[in-house]
Amino acid sequence: MSQTELPELDPVIHAQARLRVVSSLSMLREGDRIAFPRLQEILRMTAGNLSVHLRKLEDAGYVEVTKTHQGRTPATLVQLTRRGRLAFEDYTAALKALLNPSEEP
């Protein structure tokens, strides 16, 4: 399989940092939201860097960022949308298909 097939992969998550973000978020149960600082800690990214990538993912409709209050403390919660989860699953399936073209139906 040649590298020319690669553009078929979803360009939004076909970037190392955003793939890492989506991979981590995919471990949350559907409907669960994670606090921004905790996600940042899991990903070992700076807040600025993570914000930039979240915005791109949000623009694509893959993540939902909610500003809320937990008690009196403002909190930013991040969640993978159903669309984002599907995109991630499709992306993973596409990678596997690229690696094992024979197994593709």
Binding site: Q3, D32, P74, A75, L77, L99
Partner: protein, 240 residues
Amino acid sequence: MTSEHDDDLPMDPAESLRLIERERAEAERKLTPDPRVFLWPWGFAWLISFTLLFLRFGPGGRVFVDMPDWVPLAVLAATMITAGAFTGVVGARSGRWISGPSSRQGAFYGITWSVAFFGLSTVLGRVSQFVPDGEVNLLWAGAMVALTGALHMAGGAIYNDKNVFLLGVFISAINVIGVFAGPGWHALLLAVLGGGGMLAAGAYAKSRLPKAQKAEAQNAEAETAEARNAGAGNAEAGNQ
């Protein structure tokens, strides 16, 4: 730093799949609380207090260690309350970063434990006065352990966790065997197999969690590079 630029470089499929697996394992490791934190407080509580019960109220009324008769029960109550408070606080803390179905589920389950024990204590406290002295300890210990076993089994059902369910089955089984064997034997079984079983279950569950990744070393490089930008990042985090 160059990583902002590198971040956008596409990778080959195999590398991407490895990255996905690494990140998912890392997220699981960081999002899953250490199971020992939930099992070991109870393991130690049972080991200590049921050992004291056994030593003071041995099989056939034997007294191995002549301590005041209120000591084992007071220690049992104190260690149970400590273990309950500790696991409750740790459980609440570990869930505070996630909101949604999971945190609601955790909160409901935690409340269930408190309410169930409060309800049972109320009933037992009321009827204890009518129970012969030799059987009062067995009544309390047997009922509490039966409830603990059932709640573990329910936990296994709720979290779809076979090991927690089996721990509940094990606790329930040794409790029934101990109750039939009678006072003294019950305490011995619960100290050794119940307390010891929870300590072992905690160690086993811990050993099955994903280990810290070797990739940490790789990521550490990116981390130090990113740390230089942390000033800007922290300012933004402050606005969260």
